[in-house]
Symmetry: C2
Subunit: 254 residues, 2 copies
DNA sequence: CCCCTCCATTTGTCCGGACAATCGAACTTC
DNA sequence: GAAGTTCGATTGTCCGGACAAATGGAGGGG
């Protein structure tokens, strides 16, 4: 009796445009990624060996490998020596990038809203000076915002930034997220150190977010660095635990 | 007047062992990483161009590039076309890998302790069945543990696992973390979906962790997948917010 | 003095090839 | 029939070279 083959190699329509300025490996990786997303490449199926794939596309093997590697790094593919390259099952989404709450809410279709509560220059406290690698008492921007979704408060955001990096106008802060403003100002965000915890709301904190005193709050402190290693932002945020939680995906570094 | 040069190219003692089974690019990336960690490569300094570096080590440029690329992916280096490769400032530690609480505590020198509260087979609830891609009512392992550091409770860990994957003996669960057991059983962890939130402790939860009823707790739910895309574990954890917070570092995907 | 252009430097992309390491299956042997 | 062995397939590593693209500074022109 003929046993049905479980995971045959999947033929696929792939093509690259050599006249395009888009790198060939990137064109290929995007086509593969979209093929996975729309289900043309089913989970568990083999991708076909690299050499044959390269020949079929008129590319060299290193180029094909570069395309595949980028998807392996994203968690979409798994390579196995002597076996081949397989599509990973599961609902892999985003491996937790450095994203702003604004973008997260917008991506979730929640239409975020921002109210600027304060936007001033203040002397840096010890904690802020340490985080931003400045001297205690140096002037820094202080921005306090309330973030709402569907008209309901979700988070209270308090950020401190070094002076001279960015023009912080209330109107622009209300229209978009802080990270977008920083990117638009030519700052290349590189990495961030985060600390996520929880605590009971004080009377003031509860008032701001519409929660009773003592209600559990989710807290996040974050220092963001640009590609030159400068600390460009320090944020202390509190989220209504009843309305918000952090969702993300991790990959095992291998 | 001679202006002091800000960031000169740093000469460095590097060498590779061609008789070693360790890949050359890996030898090089490790040497560079340790040079950065011990400060021999100061933040902001240029690494010297790839071609010269390759010639100095007797390697080809692709090999050197592969070594450098792995450190770029780790966030330790930044490349700039026409400029060079620079060491990133800042205290980059670990870009948030999939780690167990046990390993985290151990790495922090806290000498973790585990008490197994329950270790049984139960029918899967709807939530657990959905997370593990099983049928509701199917038998699953249920493990309840209390994690302590310095003799104080830190977290209550409740995990559910499919049957047939792993032998779960109390003694082994008390000696190490769950992830180490899974790896030792030949399971290749690949990715995980997490959700981090906060809530007020119920009477039972407070009792377990030594907190008053209503105290804020940090909660984490996690489904872990292996490299074949199978869900191999679902965990519901609660942490004492007064004694624990998540610390991690993010990199911007570029 | 300022702005524009040109150019050297450096990384980004791509090619073609070679051999090694590992896996799984077919084969052989006991 | 079961266990060990061999072998083909596939990815991992490495080489050497070539040209393109971006950057920043030097030089020239206004």
């Amino acid at each position: 009796m003929a046993k049905p083959v479980a995971d045959p190699t999947v033929p696929l329509e792939l093509s690259v445009d050599r006249s395009s300025p888009v790198p060939l490996y990137f064109q290929l990786s995007q086509q593969l990624e979209s093929a996975i997303e729309r289900g043309a490449l089913t989970p568990g199926s083999l991708l076909g060996n690299e050499i044959e794939l390269a020949g079929r596309l008129g590319l060299s093997r290193p180029t094909v490998r570069q395309a595949i590697q980028s998807l392996v790094d994203k968690g979409l593919l798994v390579r196995r020596r002597g076996v081949g390259t397989q599509v990973v099952h599961s609902q892999v989404k985003r491996p937790l990038e450095l994203s702003s709450l604004y973008d997260d809410l917008e991506a979730a279709g929640q239409r975020p809203e921002t109210r600027v509560l304060a936007n001033t220059l203040v002397p840096a406290s010890a904690e802020i000076a340490a985080a931003l690698a400045l001297g205690e008492g140096d002037e820094v921007h202080r921005v306090e915002r309330l973030r709402l979704a569907h008209g309901e408060p979700v988070a209270y955001l308090c950020n401190h930034l070094p002076t001279g990096l960015l023009a912080l106008e209330d109107a622009r802060l209300e229209a978009t997220g802080l990270y977008r403003l920083m990117r638009a100002a030519g700052i290349t965000l590189h990495s961030a150190r985060q600390s996520v915890g929880a605590r009971a709301a004080t009377a003031v904190e509860g008032e701001r977010l519409g929660e009773p005193t003592g209600a559990p709050l989710l807290t996040m402190k974050r220092t963001t660095f640009d590609d030159k290693g400068r600390a460009v932002e320090f944020g202390s945020h509190t989220y209504r635990a009843s309305r918000y939680s952090f969702e993300f995906q991790l990959l095992v570094r291998s």
